[in-house]
């Protein structure tokens, strides 16, 4: 027997938070080295912004062009892309590749793994929202809010929206049967929700059944919330409810956070067997 057997139990493991931060760093490093993830998660929404923003320049209300309406919707979509879509696709891949099994077999708390994911989502979300704000302002007539109240509203929408998006992404990661198939399961859901939730079309002009269906899910509420931040206050009367419904928006998002947490705790799988 040599000395390497002697140390066990003497030194302490690094803290759960410290390991979580290290995981966040390694997650970001890997994210940036995967060309598909950078293009798909970060650049694709910006490309969409340019395509839709350049094609649909009609004015839909006094002082509101469709491209301005669309940018608000894309910022809400950014929260869904970087949280829900990213996690619901990459976690099944990590399960297939053996990443999760390996992490389960080492002295790491599962909490550290999720801290790493939260850091990855936060950083990619900030980059994405930052790019959409910058390009929207420069090219598509987006007006940044001038009042503190609107900035505070924007902040809570981003925070609560990201939390629900992240938790639902973790919960949904148990659904795709394989890593390879995950993107085929998740992407259509996100695209359909974007159509139904008033990202690609003006929400109030959609059929009622579509509006009702979209109202079950967070994205519709996030897009409406973002419009309350980036469109003139006078536009509120053109919403389906003739108001921004901010209290209801908060309530729906919090309900999804609770549902998502229970779902994730029950369904999260570290291996496919």
């Amino acid at each position: 027997m040599t000395t390497n057997l002697m140390h066990a139990g003497f030194a302490k493991n690094p803290s759960v938070l410290r390991v979580g931060v290290l995981r966040g760093g390694i997650e970001i490093k890997q994210f940036l080295r995967q060309r598909e993830s950078v293009v798909f998660t970060l650049l694709f929404p910006v490309m969409l912004l340019f395509i839709f923003g350049s094609v649909f320049k009609d004015t839909i209300a006094p002082g509101v062009t469709f491209s301005r309406y669309f940018v608000a919707g894309m910022i809400a979509s950014g929260l869904v892309n970087t949280g829900f879509q990213q996690l619901a696709i990459t976690i099944p891949m990590e399960r297939d590749f053996g990443t999760l099994k390996r992490l389960r077999g080492i002295p790491m708390s599962p909490v550290s793994y999720f801290i790493g994911k939260v850091i990855l989502v936060t950083v990619s979300m900030l980059v994405q929202v930052g790019m959409l704000l910058a390009f929207g302002t420069l090219f598509f007539g987006l007006k940044l809010p001038t009042s503190t109240e609107l900035w505070l509203r924007f902040t809570w929408l981003v925070i609560v929206g990201s939390i629900s998006s992240t938790i639902l992404g973790i919960a949904f990661s148990s659904i795709p049967k394989s890593g390879r198939g995950a993107s085929a399961v998740v992407s259509p859901i996100v695209i359909v929700l974007q159509f139904f939730s008033g990202v690609f079309f003006v929400f109030s002009s959609l059929p009622k059944w579509m509006q009702d269906f979209a109202a079950i899910f967070p994205l519709k509420w996030l897009t409406q919330g973002m419009r309350s931040v980036f469109l003139p206050n006078s536009f509120a009367v053109r919403e389906v409810a003739h108001s921004w419904e901010l209290g209801k928006t908060f309530l729906v998002l919090v309900i999804w956070i609770i549902v998502g947490t229970i779902w994730a705790l029950r369904s999260f799988k570290w291996s496919d067997k």
Partner: protein, 299 residues
């Protein structure tokens, strides 16, 4: 090391009593994977688990690693029952290392980044650069993992398995897909780890691997232990009759005997010196193993 008595007097690293595990499957009927296994692994030995596909090797090892629940039986790994661990309890995991069957993770990191990162999880890790050197990947330290060959990838898996300085290292079919040279150098690495005090439990399909490495082997089939022994003594191999074959007038003759030396001596007298194309052999581990597996199938 190859001394059963010395091992038997040693400290127990792993003990399993009456282990069972059945996989529930409503469609195809339940599958009994492990059907009452008892075994002990001693500190610092290399213990090989042999058996055909689906014999219960991986299930048994995954129960020891804390990946799977069992249905019944007692399990102790370094004095701890893996099924009783909470996810937050990290001290036991500090003391074991796991090399999984196949992994493709972290393809975009370099070898060095990956080993350095994993060192952070442990209370008292080994030096990452030394570990990379130990598994023979120094030349590849700054290469992306996706560019590694299959054998190099497995060496990295071993590096990640030993970075925490484990007392027990589990290896699940570690050399599947290796070329003969890579396999030899992998065996050297495993022997070196043993010489440093690590207890090693490996599953394998390869009889030559078990023979080259293991102090003791357990043969598992259909969820049951058929025998636990040293490779030399498995299946009464040490007492098996020898086979003396040679050419007489261009025709191969075979003598099966307990006294091969005498047989050769007599033949040598008869031929007056050189016996044409003489071969003296005993059953290989593979012969013994295959006859064990076959005899159970015929039951």
């Amino acid at each position: 090391m190859r001394n059963e008595e010395k091992l038997n007097s040693g400290e127990v690293a792993i003990e399993i009593i009456g282990l069972t595990k059945t996989y529930k499957d409503k469609k195809n009927g339940d599958k009994v994977a492990v059907d009452g296994i008892d075994l002990k692994v001693f500190r610092n030995e290399i213990f090989a688990i042999l058996g055909p596909n689906g014999a219960g090797k991986t299930t048994t090892v995954e129960i020891l690693e804390g990946y799977r629940d069992r249905d019944s039986g007692q399990v102790s790994v370094l004095g701890v029952d893996p099924s009783q661990l909470s996810a937050q309890d990290r001290s036991w995991r500090n003391r074991i290392g796991i090399v999984l069957q196949s992994t493709e993770d972290a393809a975009d990191l370099t070898v060095s980044e990956s080993v350095n990162h994993f060192a952070h999880y442990y209370s008292n890790p080994k030096n990452p650069a030394e570990v990379i050197d130990e598994v023979g990947l120094s030349d590849k330290a700054n290469s992306r993992i996706r560019t590694l060959s299959g054998g190099q990838r497995r060496r990295l898996d071993v590096a990640l398995g030993i970075i925490g300085g484990p007392e027990i290292l589990f290896l699940d079919e570690p050399t599947t897909g290796f070329d003969p040279e890579a396999r030899r150098s992998f065996w050297e690495l495993i022997r070196k780890l043993q010489s440093e005090g690590t207890t090693i439990v490996l599953t394998t399909h390869y009889l030559d691997e078990a023979e080259a490495l293991a102090d003791r082997v357990a043969v598992i089939n259909e969820g049951k232990i058929m025998e636990i022994s040293t490779p030399e003594n498995l299946g009464g191999r040490n007492e098996a009759k020898a086979r003396v074959s040679y050419l007489r007038n261009g025709v191969r003759e075979v003598v099966i005997t307990d006294t091969p030396t005498r047989a050769v001596y007599e033949l040598s007298e008869e031929f007056d010196g050189e016996i044409p194309e003489l071969i003296v052999s005993r059953p290989t581990l593979e012969d013994i193993y295959l006859s064990m597996i076959k005899s159970q199938e015929n039951k």
